[in-house]
């Protein structure tokens, strides 16, 4: 019986208090009449009955409340629409931000036991490279000697020329050891992935296609298996197609090709170009694996001191391959969405409180008819939850629409899809945000009603309820809204200044009017330097003949596209410190500097006369010259790099090779004919740059035709303007700013609504007071000042709180601000000013309404 009495508490209070004792007595009589098994059965049935009754009774009440809500909303559509819209904005912003952050930072990678997958790097922190690619020799030794990993794989990404029915294509390829797919625990969707025989038997040349390439270029036909695909002039057999959503190592990968090493590869430990992943053995921790690899690395440093000196091993979870910048930005995004949700909740609480006050009469009637305070509070809560559920559903739609726009915030370094898919996790976040909103804004009015009635404020339609206390509460909400909006405004301001600062950085070249395109020449077809030079000469001659073109040239890599390509430099008596003896090396054709408008400061450009039979020459950047020969004429100086001794013939301005936000190594430019035959093919010129007087895009057909005439199998890829390349440098900043700006706009709009709502309420509630004041001679200006001063006080308080919070928060954003001070005074001042102006603007309408109060009507109403 005790359990029965306890279970009665599940019933709604009214039912329990009215009939609980009778139910217990009835149950007891029923029980008394039964014996043995029948008694046990009656006991179970009774307990089940009271539980089921509780569920049904609550469902009845909820249904009744929802029907009442529907009726209330039909009577006051504007109010319902406002509630739904505000909660949709709050839920939408939160769901979108959480989904993107969850996708990038939390959700397991799409592989089996993904938490056991690790990335392996060489660690040369002593010279600033904590995550360096591996040499084949080191990778093989790590793999053979370590016991921490169940399997491991090495891979390197490159692009290849493919000849397809649709013409020549440039494809993103990953050369991987056969263990890659086994390590990731992924099999082919069609056919097979690599087997170890693929590494040994180089004659088969298998290729595995990505799902995307298979669908777009091969029509998604299963018959593609066994067909031949020409890659870089060689025939490969299609052996498999990977499943959709397999985005390793990046989501734009098209094909996987087997990677194997010849003895020469293994001998050269200074040639670092491999990335490596491994799967931890069961029971082996990350720290243990790290310790073991570092012991192995120390052994290799002793055995091969020239290449491996002070080289350690870094083992990190594959999941953590997210830059600090991406991580921080996503956290900031979630913080911003939390601000929006907070403002939405405060706004809704305020709206509902006002509504509860308007419904005072209805509530009083219900109390006088015996409704309990708890019952009324429950109805208000159901109303707010019902409306917020509707808003939540709209919020999910908003989030689904917004998530693709936030895709720019998903880093490409992770093997994950571009945008999170709508799934249970996303819906769970939306449901949680909806619940927070519904309870957040429903609880306060419900609590106020309950408390108001306990104090008897409802009796006789008392005016006490809903005046002072409610106004103070709503004023509190406005302060919160303004404060949260200020925090967002400060963040937006700081990010905007950071963006401007980065955009103001001089890249060292002029990007306007320049078209860039890539013709990556396949080896061994083009391994002889003279063959390549013929190709370059023909293309450049044809392109220069196009009307509008003022100059054109080839280079190994475009600045900001390829940030590496670094080579050690040796001089006879270098003044540069050890760490600075590295240079960014590029082979170029004549007119490269003229085409990019990189200023030629001393000496001459590379010339057609610089060949393999003439003296090896170099044009160096100014920082290179000053660091190596600070007090001497750099022209005529000798140094060694890229396997040759060279003499300096020219000095040019420095270029931001590593991008606008990073310092670059000094630059060395070498004449393209001086690339050795079949050697250092990585540096072979492939990027074409063309300066024109007209629109760069208009040149594309002519360039494509020229390439096709020179070599019909040669694809032209990566066609874009140099301005686009530079713009990409700030693309992620722009995307971040756009998202934050949207949040801030929503926040300030909601804060405005809050202020407007509160003041309208205050003016309406004080119509008599205003009337009396006016009757006693208060001027309209005085009345207006009265209303506006109220706004100024609240907004001032909100701004102050907001600035303090922003000051604390902005410190953690410092890393993202590209050198802008996180406490930048101008930004804080602008945010405060903007918030104040907007707050005052939002109170103009209620203030005008106050001014138009007719004293006679107001007093008569009293």
């Amino acid at each position: 019986m005790r359990i029965y009495a306890l279970l009665l508490h599940l019933l709604p209070a009214a039912l329990r208090e009215e009939y609980g004792a009778e139910m217990t007595a009835t149950f007891a009589r029923h029980l008394a009449g039964a014996r043995g098994a029948a008694r046990a059965w009656a006991l179970v049935a009774g307990l089940a009955d009271v539980t089921a009754t509780a569920v049904r009774a609550h469902a009845d009440l909820t249904w009744q409340d929802l029907r009442d809500t529907g009726r209330t909303c039909r009577r006051n559509r504007g109010f319902a629409a406002a509630i739904v819209a505000v909660s949709a904005l709050g839920v939408g912003a939160t769901t979108a931000a959480f989904s993107v952050a969850d996708h990038v930072l939390v959700r397991p990678l799409p592989f089996a036991d993904a938490d056991r997958l690790v990335k392996l790097w060489q660690d040369q922190s002593y010279r600033g490279y904590s995550r360096m690619e591996l040499s084949p020799g080191n990778y093989e030794d790590w793999r053979r000697q370590s016991r921490s990993f169940a399997s491991s794989a090495a891979f390197t990404s490159n692009s290849v020329n493919a000849m397809t029915n649709a013409g020549p294509l440039r494809l993103n390829a990953t050369y991987a050891t056969s263990s890659l797919f086994e390590t990731l625990g992924v099999s082919a969707a069609l056919g097979r992935a690599f087997v170890s025989a693929d590494e040994r038997d180089v004659s088969t040349k298998p290729v595995v296609l990505s799902d995307r390439l298979w669908r777009t270029t091969f029509g998604g036909r299963a018959e593609v298996l066994g067909t031949t695909l020409r890659l870089n002039g060689e025939s490969h057999v299609v052996v498999g197609v990977m499943p959709g959503g397999f985005d390793f190592p990046r989501r734009d990968n098209d094909v996987w090709l087997p990677l194997s090493f010849v003895p020469d590869d293994l001998a050269d430990r200074s040639n670092v170009y491999l990335q490596a992943i491994a799967r931890l053995q069961p029971g082996v921790s990350l720290a243990e694996a790290r310790a073991e690899l570092n012991v192995i690395a120390a052994g290799l440093a002793r055995a091969f001191p020239e290449a491996n000196e002070r080289t350690g091993a870094a083992v990190i979870q594959l999941r953590d391959e997210v830059s600090r910048q991406s991580r921080l930005m996503l956290i900031a995004l979630v913080g911003a969405s939390a601000c929006v949700l907070l403002i939405a909740c405060a706004n809704l609480a305020s709206l509902l409180l006002a509504r509860a006050v308007q419904r005072r009469r209805e509530l009083v009637v219900r109390v006088s008819m015996g409704a309990r305070p708890g019952r009324l509070a429950r109805q208000l809560l159901t109303e707010s939850l019902g409306l917020s559920a509707l808003g939540g559903a709209m919020g999910v739609v908003l989030a689904l629409a917004a998530v693709p726009a936030a895709a720019a915030l998903v880093p490409t370094s992770l093997p994950i899809a571009e945008a999170p898919s709508a799934d249970v996790r996303m819906l769970a976040v939306a449901a949680l945000a909806t619940l927070v909103t519904g309870i957040g804004f429903g609880l306060v009015p419900a609590w106020r009603i309950g408390r108001g009635m306990q104090r008897g404020e409802f009796r006789h339609g008392s005016r006490v309820f809903g005046s002072g206390a409610t106004e103070r509460l709503r004023a509190g909400f406005v302060v919160v809204e303004v404060a949260a909006a200020v925090v967002l405004l400060v963040a937006v301001g700081l990010f905007l200044r950071a963006l401007w600062r980065v955009q103001d950085v001089n890249p060292g070249f002029r990007d306007e009017g320049v078209l860039t395109a890539r013709t990556a020449l396949p080896m061994p077809k083009y391994e002889v330097t003279a063959t390549r030079e013929q190709f370059y000469a023909r293309i450049l001659a044809e392109v220069r003949a196009v009307p509008g073109v003022t100059s054109a040239a080839y280079t190994s890599f475009l600045p900001m596209v390829m940030r590496g390509g670094i080579w050690p430099v040796l001089t006879a008596s270098s003044a540069a410190p050890q760490d600075a003896r590295m240079a960014s090396v590029r082979y170029v054709t004549p007119a490269y500097f003229a085409t990019l408008r990189i200023p030629l400061l001393r000496g001459r450009d590379v010339a057609p006369s610089d060949t393999q039979t003439s003296q090896y020459v170099a044009v160096v950047s100014q920082s290179f010259a000053t660091s190596h020969w600070p007090d001497q004429d750099p022209l005529g100086q000798h140094f060694s790099t890229a396997l040759q001794e060279r003499v300096v013939v020219g000095v040019v301005g420095d270029v931001r090779v590593r991008g606008l936000e990073r310092e670059s190594e000094p630059q060395v430019y070498l004449p393209s004919p001086q690339v050795p035959d079949g050697g250092i093919i990585f540096y072979v010129p492939k990027d074409l740059v063309i300066r024109t007087n007209g629109a760069p895009a208009a040149l594309v057909p002519a360039v494509r035709a020229a390439v096709n005439r020179a070599d019909p199998e040669q694809p032209l890829s990566d066609v874009r303007t140099l301005a686009e390349v530079v713009r990409l440098e700030t693309a992620s900043r722009s995307a971040q700013l756009t998202v934050l700006l949207t949040f801030a706009a929503v926040a300030i709009l909601l804060a405005c609504l809050g202020i407007h709502g509160l003041l309208s309420y205050v003016v309406a509630a004080r119509t008599q007071e205003i009337g009396v004041r006016m009757a006693f001679g208060a001027t309209p200006a005085r009345v207006m000042a009265l209303v506006l001063s109220r706004t100024a006080t609240l907004a001032g308080l909100g701004v102050t709180v907001g600035l303090v919070v922003a000051f604390a928060v902005s410190q953690s954003l410092q890393f993202l601000l590209a050198g802008v001070s996180p406490t930048d005074g101008a930004t804080f001042a602008a945010a405060a000013l903007l918030a104040l102006i907007v707050a005052l603007a939002a109170s103009v309408l209620p203030a005008l309404r106050a001014v138009r109060v007719d004293p006679l009507t107001a007093i008569r109403a009293e």
Binding site: L15, Y19, A21, E22, M23, T26, H30, T53, A54
Partner: protein, 119 residues
């Protein structure tokens, strides 16, 4: 909810409500007696649980179908914890309307020949 519902507006009645109305139609009864009466009238086919009974009673009192009765049996037969319920005039009208509805249904069924051979 309309202020003055008509008997028809409450139709069709839930089975439990109809049984309770019939059980209190001829005399006022307390909860357990209602359960027993309904079981007896239906030859044990309908056994109301305490939960169903009191949830129905709560709603029926709200809808003014039944009311708590002030009249009590003789003290030696009474238990002061018990409350007795009797049918109201409105309750009687609603029960009548339900009977009429069921009769109408039955007529239609008979006309279409779907009534069982032996009732």
């Amino acid at each position: 909810m309309p202020d003055d519902p008509t008997p028809e507006s409450l139709l069709p009645l839930p089975a439990a409500t109809f049984h309770i109305l019939l059980a209190v139609a001829d005399e006022d009864r307390h909860g357990y007696a209602i359960i027993q009466e309904v079981a007896a009238r239906t030859a044990g086919e309908v056994r109301l649980s305490a939960g169903t009974l009191y949830r129905s009673i709560q709603r029926m009192v709200e809808q003014d179908l039944i009311s708590e009765s002030a009249a009590r049996p003789a003290p030696e037969l009474d238990d002061e914890r018990r409350r007795y319920y009797g049918i109201t005039d409105f309750g009687r009208a609603v029960a009548g309307a339900e009977v009429q509805r069921l009769q109408g249904l039955l007529r239609i069924a008979r006309a279409t020949g779907v009534t069982p051979r032996r009732v």
